[in-house]
């Protein structure tokens, strides 16, 4: 029997990304912005596959695909070729999907790329096998669940929306690596401005998982990074258990039920489905010129890896801080805007990475809806530096800034909510305490530990706003004075 803890996990991913930033669908002029529209209102004869209609390629989609290919370090094909992939399903209007295929005589838009990730501080390369451009099918909609629905409804609004299919080599060794890879991939796509991964359905993953020497299982249609990690973790446990029991892992396709947190068998995969690929005769191969590619490359924005490098150089951040910021693009943008007015970059980064991010999550705020006066954060940090605010106060004020509506300086002024650092004032308070508690003063003169009691009394009198350090200094110097004068 195998010692299951030593089994090597092999994971490969197939990611379908909608290019949601495209205005129109892949092969027709219908608007691609189908979300929250009435079913079957965003369709035309072409994306409905009506008899006699023909596809024409959306040039912008090709540009975006090339940008993605370049960002994933791929070789880009010199020809744009489409094939038909046949299968019968009601949401597929033509009963074939126009896609791309790798094989003799065929070429996908790009292949042989890689993505660099960092796992537990160690760098790792995840190879990209290929990138395809293809059309999204429509959707089968059920009333309630698939089992109870009295009929199936079909919505073709999504039909024809541009998808990129990104396929990795089986280079990932754990669910965590899969997650880290996906986070990086999504960040890259976001930086390219080709998709909004936050939109429902914009991003779907099929995950292949196996143990070395055992059958491969495919988990279909996982909708979020978190679910990918969970599904893979579940699958590892399930498969380990089977192997430990001396069983065989069936080659099959499974479905991830995110509500129940389990995978369910869909169909066995002993026989590969025959998609009867052949070149789409309606879309003759188009040459992709070097000039076209160069033009796209020239317009590429700064990508995550470059930005991480720059953050490390320009702001002297370590790789960890730079990476966390950069992979949350909006946070990195926020950082850079604040950094224009505030140059203790590490302190700024820490505030954003830890407390700020935590509150954003806590309040469940979509960063796109974040209406924030950046200067508030800068002011907060400055008042902290000047000793006006304590760490504790900073942490209390931050969520109020995020929720909006307060100006830190005004708030501090009007509420008196500052650390008391006014030495003259504190001296008066200390004198008062000394007058009121001669016994305690006597103790403190004899026993240095009793000083804390006096500090406590001052803090109480100032409602906790006094700077304890300063209070201690004042008390000690007054006690010294008393000793030296012998009074």
């Amino acid at each position: 029997m195998n010692n299951d803890q030593t089994l090597k996990t092999i994971i490969g991913l197939e990611i379908h990304v909608q290019l949601t930033k495209l205005k129109t669908k892949l092969f027709c002029a219908t608007s691609a912005d189908y979300r929250e529209k009435k079913p079957n209102t965003h369709v035309c004869p072409i994306c409905l596959g009506l008899p006699g209609t023909l596809p024409t390629v959306n040039r912008k989609a090709v540009e975006y695909a090339i940008a993605v290919a370049k960002a994933l370090n791929c070789e880009i094909s010199d020809r744009l070729m489409f094939v038909r992939k046949h299968y019968f399903y009601p949401d597929l209007p033509k009963n074939y999907q126009i896609s791309q295929y790798i094989g003799p005589g065929f070429a996908p838009i790009a292949k042989n790329g890689y993505v660099k990730i960092t796992v537990d501080g160690k760098p790792k390369i995840v190879r990209i096998r290929r990138i395809n451009i293809e059309e999204d099918p429509g959707r089968v909609v059920y009333i309630g669940s698939i089992e109870t629905s009295p009929y199936s409804l079909i919505d073709y609004n999504r039909s024809g929306v541009t998808l990129l299919e990104i396929v990795t080599e089986p280079d990932l060794g754990s669910p965590k690596e899969a997650r880290i890879f996906l986070e990086k991939l999504i960040a890259i796509l976001e930086y390219l401005g080709v998709t909004d991964p936050g939109l429902e359905g914009a991003f779907r993953v099929d995950a292949n998982i196996s143990f070395e020497g055992f059958g491969r299982v495919e988990i279909k249609n996982i909708g979020s990074i978190r679910d990918v990690e969970k599904a893979l973790t579940y699958e590892i446990v399930r498969q380990r258990r089977i192997i430990a029991g001396g069983g065989k892992i069936e080659r099959e396709t499974r479905h991830w039920d995110s509500n129940k947190g389990v995978t369910i068998s869909l169909r066995s995969k002993e026989f590969e489905e025959d998609y009867r690929y052949f070149p789409d005769p309606d879309l003759p191969p188009l040459r992709i010129s070097k000039e076209f590619i160069e033009q796209v490359v020239k317009s590429l924005p700064e990508l995550p890896d470059e930005r991480i490098d720059r953050f490390m150089k320009q702001y002297s951040l370590d790789e960890y801080r730079a990476t966390v910021l950069v992979l949350n693009k909006w946070l990195a943008d926020l950082f850079e805007m604040c950094a224009k007015h505030y140059d203790k970059y590490k302190k700024l980064a820490d505030l954003l990475i830890t407390d700020f991010l935590r509150w954003i999550n806590e309040f469940n705020i979509d960063y796109k809806n974040l209406r924030l006066d950046l200067l508030q954060i800068v002011k907060l940090l400055r008042l902290w530096d000047e000793g006006v605010l304590s760490v504790k106060m900073v942490k209390e004020l931050l969520p109020q800034i995020i929720k909006g509506g307060i100006d830190v300086e005004d708030y501090v002024k009007s509420s008196g909510y500052t650390r008391l650092v006014d030495k003259e004032y504190l001296e008066k308070v200390v004198e008062e305490v000394f007058r009121e508690s001669p016994k305690a003063v006597q103790d403190a003169l004899e026993n240095p530990k009793a000083v804390n009691y006096l500090i406590g009394l001052v803090m109480k009198k100032t409602s906790g706003r006094a700077d304890p350090q300063l209070v201690r200094e004042i008390i000690l110097s007054m006690l010294d004075k008393m000793r030296s004068t012998g009074s």
Binding site: G49, L50, G52, E272, R276
Partner: protein, 490 residues
């Protein structure tokens, strides 16, 4: 019979332009004729009622008062094959599957015709989904040859050819995947042109085999043919296979230019295609070739592998057909069956079994087999190779010759039902026509003679975009044989 019925459209248009109200007289005589002959031959699946067309023409005249002279087809009725989409008019492909399908859009060619003032008079019968060579596989009824109603009109554009030959329409559109325009043109004694692949937009043509399908004009004389070609040819951004550099060409002018210059051409006569023809066909077409050769420079040439050409054609056509017809599953259009308690696969299977005729089911099944893993290389890929070889062979031929000629069909029109017993024979009858589709070159069928009252056609092919040369040759023959504007007596 009205003098109008056999009048060429360029003369009709002159009459209409001087007095637009004559259009109504014309429609009267046309509909009278349709009433008289339609039952005997059944050219149409859908005929637009005369009242509807009268109203349409009224508006047409009102709206175009000042530009009638600029409209190339003003007031001319056109019979359109029923696999070409017409907005608001049922388009069935002669199939039960699309019996009640009314397209919400017009094919590009239809748009172009309407823009030039043309009128759609009806949708013509055809072989189901253009699969057949006799118009007998129509799911509705077969069309009959107007020259002998016991015989087939040829196919698959049989209805368009018979509508012309019997005077039901002066112009028609057909589609040609392996000879579907030229075959019925030959059997019915009319002119039919399959244009260069990519010259005429396929947008709106319900696909049979996309890499070979081509819409083309059919007419009773060469000038009319050239007029309709001028209207429908030209780049269409909605069709990625449409050739981008083709601007609109006035084929009538091109034809007249050549006709006046009368250049001497080098003509290749395909030996095998003559040898393989029935005696009367061989004789009639050889006589026509002699007419051409009395002026041009002729030479016999060889195209040896005709059996392989047929095989490659059917393999590619069926493979593409199996894919193109996959969308007909009863979900969005087509037959409705009760899906309750059935899996998708069961429901689809039932719809497709009931909705498609035997010939279509056979071709889909063979096509799916051809594309399936393990067989693709053996059949499909080899057919593509042969297609390439054939292209090279034609490139070579056109270095030495301007056009090549052969009989259009190796046989006379068969009797109805005759071919059902021997399907392979009908596939082989396409031997002369399929090469032009595989290679993408233009080809024309020119009626040249009769034998026992049955028309016989000569086919001429030329290199890509040489339509003017084909029209020129056709016009020369037309002038010498007097084969123009002839109507079958019914």
């Amino acid at each position: 019979m009205s003098k109008y019925l056999s009048m060429p459209i360029h003369k009709l248009i002159e009459e209409f332009k001087t007095d637009p109200s004559k259009t109504f007289d014309y429609l009267d005589s046309l509909y009278d004729n349709i009433k008289r002959v339609e039952n005997k031959i059944r050219s149409f699946i859908t005929i637009i009622p005369q009242e509807t067309l009268d109203r349409y023409v009224e508006n047409l005249i009102k709206e175009n008062k000042h530009r009638i002279d600029n409209l190339k087809l003003f007031g001319i009725p056109i019979a359109v094959k029923d696999n070409i989409s017409t907005k608001g008019i049922r388009t069935t492909c002669a199939s039960k599957m699309l019996e009640n399908y009314v397209p919400p859009y017009n094919a590009t060619v239809v748009e172009k015709i309407l823009r030039e003032g043309g009128i759609i008079i009806g949708k013509t019968n055809m072989d189901e989904f253009a699969m057949g060579s006799t118009t007998e596989t129509s799911a509705f009824y077969p069309t009959k040859n107007p020259w002998d109603t016991t015989r087939v009109p040829g196919g698959s554009s049989g209805g368009s050819a018979t509508a012309l030959a019997s005077g039901e329409a002066p112009l028609a559109l057909g589609s040609d995947t392996g000879g579907s325009i030229r075959n019925p043109a030959s059997f019915c004694g009319v002119y039919g042109l399959k244009p260069t692949y990519g010259l005429v937009s396929r947008y709106g043509l319900i696909a049979y085999a996309s890499s070979m399908d081509q819409i083309g004009p059919m007419a009773r004389n060469v000038v009319d043919l050239a007029i309709l070609l001028s209207v429908i040819a030209g780049h269409d951004p909605r069709d990625s296979t449409s050739v981008p550099f083709v601007q609109s060409v006035d084929y009538v002018q091109e034809l007249y230019k050549l006709h006046h210059k009368e250049p001497k051409l080098r003509i290749g006569v395909i030996k095998e295609f003559f040898e393989g023809s029935e005696e009367p066909v061989k004789k009639a077409t050889a006589k026509a070739v002699d007419l051409l050769c009395s002026y041009h420079e002729c030479q016999e040439i060889s195209l040896p592998f005709s059996k392989q050409i047929i095989a490659a054609y059917y393999i590619i056509a069926m493979a593409e057909a199996s894919s193109n017809l996959a969308r007909f599953d009863g979900v969005r259009y087509g037959m409705k069956i009760d899906f309750t308690n059935r899996s998708w696969d069961e429901a689809f299977t039932e719809v497709r079994t009931k909705g498609f005729g035997y010939e279509v089911r056979k071709r889909i099944a063979i096509g799916a087999y051809i594309l399936s893993a393990g067989y693709r290389d053996m059949y499909y890929i080899r057919a593509l190779k042969l297609r390439r070889v054939l292209k090279e062979r034609f490139d070579q031929i056109f270095k030495g010759y301007d056009i090549v000629v052969s009989p259009t069909m190796p046989i006379l029109p068969p009797r109805l039902g005759e071919f059902f017993e021997d399907p392979l024979r009908i596939y082989l009858a396409d031997v002369n026509t399929v090469a032009a589709n595989l290679v993408g070159i233009p080809a024309i069928s020119i009626p040249v003679d009769f034998y026992n009252g049955l028309p016989i056609g000569l086919q001429a092919m030329a290199k890509q975009f040489s339509e003017p040369l084909l029209l020129y040759i056709a016009k020369q023959l037309e002038d010498r044989t007097g084969f123009r504007d002839i109507l079958a007596q019914l």
